[in-house]
Point group: C2
Chain length 234, copies 2
DNA sequence: CGACTCTTTGATCCTGATCAACACCGGTGG
DNA sequence: CCACCGGTGTTGATCAGGATCAAAGAGTCG
């Protein structure tokens, strides 16, 4: 299926230097930028800027734009779009857009899903930190490697398996940030999920319905509750 | 589909140092090891060993074995198998198994398709050549990069498109070695082709039949003649 | 020649796309 | 407050591509 081009405007984004990145941030305990407040990485907090608010469909980065920063989602939700498909989803607390060590320009869009604030880590500043702080340099290398691996995702398996796999993946990732819980937020549209998984919106709905009928999940307006984790992986 | 594990024995391979790698080799004009006899690369000939004969199903390299050489097919045909699937086919004259710069061990099998002889380029010797001959070093880097790109193949498109694409690819590659011609050898089984393309043997046969019916190809016992190249690409 | 394997071909089934109808929900305007 | 409206999600009906199963050629090797 083809993914419709995004009709969106450039965001009117404020930037507030280091307004909020401290222990009182709701993600402080697990934010990937500081690996949950690891003291060796706390210098990352000195370079962060809060940017937003972004509305549904606003682009945080655009293809061709120079690569000048990495980001985390502070509040809200985001997706990476490229080649006419959704390539990734980003949960609050997750660091992304490290890509492009090669080309120095973005080749994808990062788009807000609903009202969203981001934390921006300027590349110049983080590189400087990495020069004097080997822990930060290593942490960034690790995240960059992970981002590259994630981008080569599978695409095989049945539609049901792919939907269940996405839910399991989002649940695991959300727990890594938010702690134990059963809820998986799905603020993105069914079309986004279908684009990401390579199937139609109707099939996404149907597979979710089948998981509900098998009592693996309960469907809510804003996401799903995972009732039987084992059933998702099988 | 799953690809059956290979039941094969280790080959009883002879090694003859530099017995045949010279201008009289039938692939000398295009062999990728010397880029068709490029004089700057002729030192490659001094390190080659001829190995064989290998019979149908014999393995040239096995997963886990140390990576000690690259190879070309001298006569016959070969396939690379890994993860239970056929990952690549190798025509006479093509250099392969440069992989594994990372792990220093093979993670795939290379299997002979029919009676096959290989030319073996020991890694130690080619590395030594690369130290003193920048042309050879660059050539090896180029081939290694290409091998890495090829390994990330598409997998999308309809069954007909994938079959036609394979034929077009093999035709292009054969012409690069053997010169102009319409013939594409298919010594591998339909199961191998299906495994490579991700479809059943029945579908491979049916797609070939459709290309025959549309007069794009003529099917022979040992391969196909391409009658309408444009039809393959469309 | 006979046994065996591979290929071809036909028949049927299953998955997921596509199309269409409808429900639902948040706005917007009366 | 309610009628209207467009977008999104759900559900049903139909369709197409390929998988699977089965049976019939076609080599191939003993």
């Amino acid at each position: 299926m083809s993914y419709a081009p995004l009709a969106c405007v450039s965001p009117v984004a404020q930037r507030r230097p280091n307004a909020c990145c401290n222990a009182s941030c709701r993600h402080a305990s697990a934010c990937e930028a500081t690996r949950g407040g690891d003291e060796r990485l706390l210098d990352m907090r000195s370079v962060v800027e809060r940017v937003g608010p972004f509305s549904e469909g606003d682009r945080l980065v655009q293809p061709g734009a120079p690569h000048r920063a990495a980001f985390t989602v502070l509040t809200g939700f985001a997706k990476t779009v490229g080649d006419g498909r959704v390539l990734a989803f980003h949960l609050p607390g997750e660091l992304f857009a490290l890509d492009i060590a090669r080309s120095h320009t973005h080749d994808v869009s990062v788009v807000a899903v609903g009202k969203t604030w981001f934390c921006r880590f300027p590349k110049d500043a983080t590189d400087d930190l990495g020069d004097t702080n080997t822990d930060i340099a290593q942490h960034l290398r690790h995240l960059r490697r992970r981002e590259r691996q994630v981008s080569s995702r599978s695409g095989d398996g049945s539609a049901l398996q792919r939907v269940a796999g996405l839910l399991a993946d989002l649940l695991r990732r959300r727990r890594a940030i938010e702690g134990p819980g059963q809820f998986v937020p799905l603020p993105m549209s069914r079309e986004d999920i279908g684009s990401y998984l390579g199937m139609s919106t109707a099939t996404v709905t149907r597979m979710l319905a089948r998981l509900r009928d098998s009592e693996a999940i309960a469907i809510r307006a804003d996401g799903v509750d995972v009732l039987n984790e084992g059933a998702l992986l099988a």
